[in-house]
Amino acid sequence: MTAPLPRNVLQAAEAIPAGSRAARLAGIILAGLVLVGLTVGLLDWTGTDYAYLAAYTVLQFVVLATAWNILGGYAGYVNFGTAAFFAIGCYTTVVIYKTIQLPLLLAIPIGGLMAGIVGFGTGYLTLRLRGVFFSIATLALAVLLQTLVVNWTFVGGARGVYVLRPEALSIFGSYTRFLFIVMLALAIGSVLIARMVANSWLGRGLAAIRDDETAAECCGVPGLRLKLIATTLSGALMGMAGAPFPYFITYVDPGTAFSLSVAVNSIAMPLIGGTGHWIGPVLGALLLGSVQQVITVTVSSALNLMIVGILLVVFVAVAPNGIVGAWKRLSERGSWIHRLLRRRA
């Protein structure tokens, strides 16, 4: 069903002895910190709020794509309702804003909790059946929740609602910069979680389910429980990605919160990057997210969505394992990349 590639990579990671593994981890963390420092420095250097807005959007897609991949990539269960989970986080913040006015940093975990609960409920009702039924239920879930929100005048109904940004703390500079740093932290956090899941008993169980669910259950993998954990975790991360959105956009209406862009990108990005490995969605989100920012500014946002749709169809048909899979194939066939890697080793 899915390529053996990503798991070979994982097995390779496990085969490395503990000492060098710790060194490798330290190296990754150091490289990550340097990258983060460089990004923030670069954005500061451009000196405009727009750079932060663009970077925020790309990072939001990193969170969504990574979250989608925990269920979709690892277990092979396709969730079409990313926009629904995203909107739950979004509207949780709106409700908190209109009632008890907690700070954003507290609203994010609450939004995640709400989305996680909905994910658990949907999963509990539909995950016992074939995977397609779960997919169809998530598609319909987005329509149902949008209907609820449109009819709920307290959160603005169909007309939408304005959200005023609070004062920014001085250490973060502008509020946009603060939101960017929050989303950066969420992105790093979700990628770390996805990486941990992939290397744990949970990830191995999910991979077994993806390859052959019946065989996995026969070997004692608790299928439903693992799928439920993955659905809840994935939904919660999507909700957390949506929670800062009202402050980002300052005006929320159902059309924006349940946007097509979220629904299609969160599926296109992992599939284009490569679903089996945690780096796949990150690659896909960074590439596709950045390209879309450029196209939206220079051409139009409708055409931009068209390009994502076409890329999705072309990639799943031609390169079913995404960029990571294509890379792996290139390096396997004795190509120049392969020789380069061999020489270094």
Partner: protein
């Protein structure tokens, strides 16, 4: 009391009318998803595309939507065959249809919607036809002919497909491929060709349903999303493989939505199909008409 009963009766009658249209919209999913096991979530995209074909022919040449359906259906049959051929070569042949196939059809749905958006814009479009406007009285109930025509055409389409599947050679091959493609190959049939024909039929019914849709209401490109929940709810509720089940489930959904519209307002109607789908999946995943 009399007024209440009259209201309920009106709701039931208009529910049955809309149900007839839903049957035409969902019969393609029953063929593709129920019989062929192809999860074509792009089906509503083709319905909306059909509606816009009828709109374009009506505005440019003044064609009647039903005539447009008769012209567009054979063409879309070949589009469907082509689509299945590609789907087979890219996914089914390698046994990769589950995740990648779903993403593929999701991408197609998306491309169709955005393409319609780019060509026709976000405005609601409608058509002109002699039967849009007048009403017919049936006893105490007044019925709009714009609902009556889709009911009759929709039910005829389903009946024609039922006859085709039951009494023609190719139709029975389609039923055979849904039961056991391997056995069909053993007796000399070609499962891929059979599925191609059946999928072409499924897309043709979607386009016909689109032409009916624009008779019933004004259409804009993203309206297809409301139909994803509806057509799959009908297919599951109707027992996946049964055309009779599809018609009965369509009527049930139509009546439930129409009653919801009257008592709670039209903005709640889209939630009904999701409720039906969830109940069907949790309580009786094999549907009410399963064998």
């Amino acid at each position: 009391m009399g007024a209440d009963l009259q209201l309920l009766l009106d709701a039931v009658v208009s529910g049955v009318m809309v149900g007839g249209f839903y049957a035409a919209a969902a019969v393609g999913i029953t063929i593709a998803f129920g019989l062929l096991d192809i999860v074509n979530i792009a089906h509503p995209g083709f319905i909306v595309a059909g509606a816009f074909i009828a709109y374009w022919l009506n505005v440019t040449f003044g064609l009647d939507p039903l005539l447009s359906a008769a012209i567009a259906a054979p063409l879309s049959f070949f589009v469907g065959r082509l689509l299945y051929r590609n789907y087979y070569l890219a996914f089914e042949k390698h046994g990769e249809e589950s995740l990648q196939g779903l993403a593929f059809f999701f991408g197609i749905l998306f491309i169709v919607e955005v393409a319609l958006l780019l060509v026709f814009g976000v405005d609601y479009r409608f058509v002109e036809a002699p039967y849009i406007g007048p009403t017919v009285s049936l006893g105490s109930v007044t019925v709009a002919t714009r609902l009556l025509v889709p009911l009759l055409v929709g039910l005829s389409v389903v009946a024609a497909i039922q006859v085709y599947l039951k009494y023609t050679f190719v139709g029975r091959t389609i039923l055979a491929v849904s039961q056991d493609p391997g056995a069909l190959r053993l007796v000399g049939g070609d499962p891929v060709w059979t599925k191609e024909i059946a999928f072409g039929l499924s897309i043709a019914t979607a386009v016909i349903a689109g032409c009916l849709l624009i008779i019933i209401q004004a259409v804009e490109p993203s309206i297809g999303r409301e139909y994803i929940g509806r057509v799959f709810a009908i297919c599951v509720l109707g027992g996946m493989m049964s055309l009779t089940g599809t018609v009965v489930a369509s009527m049930i959904l139509g009546i439930a939505e129409s009653i919801t519209t009257i008592y709670f307002g039209p903005s709640w109607a889209p939630a009904v199909s999701f409720g039906f789908l969830l109940i069907a999946l949790t309580v009786r995943p094999s549907g009410i008409f399963s064998r």
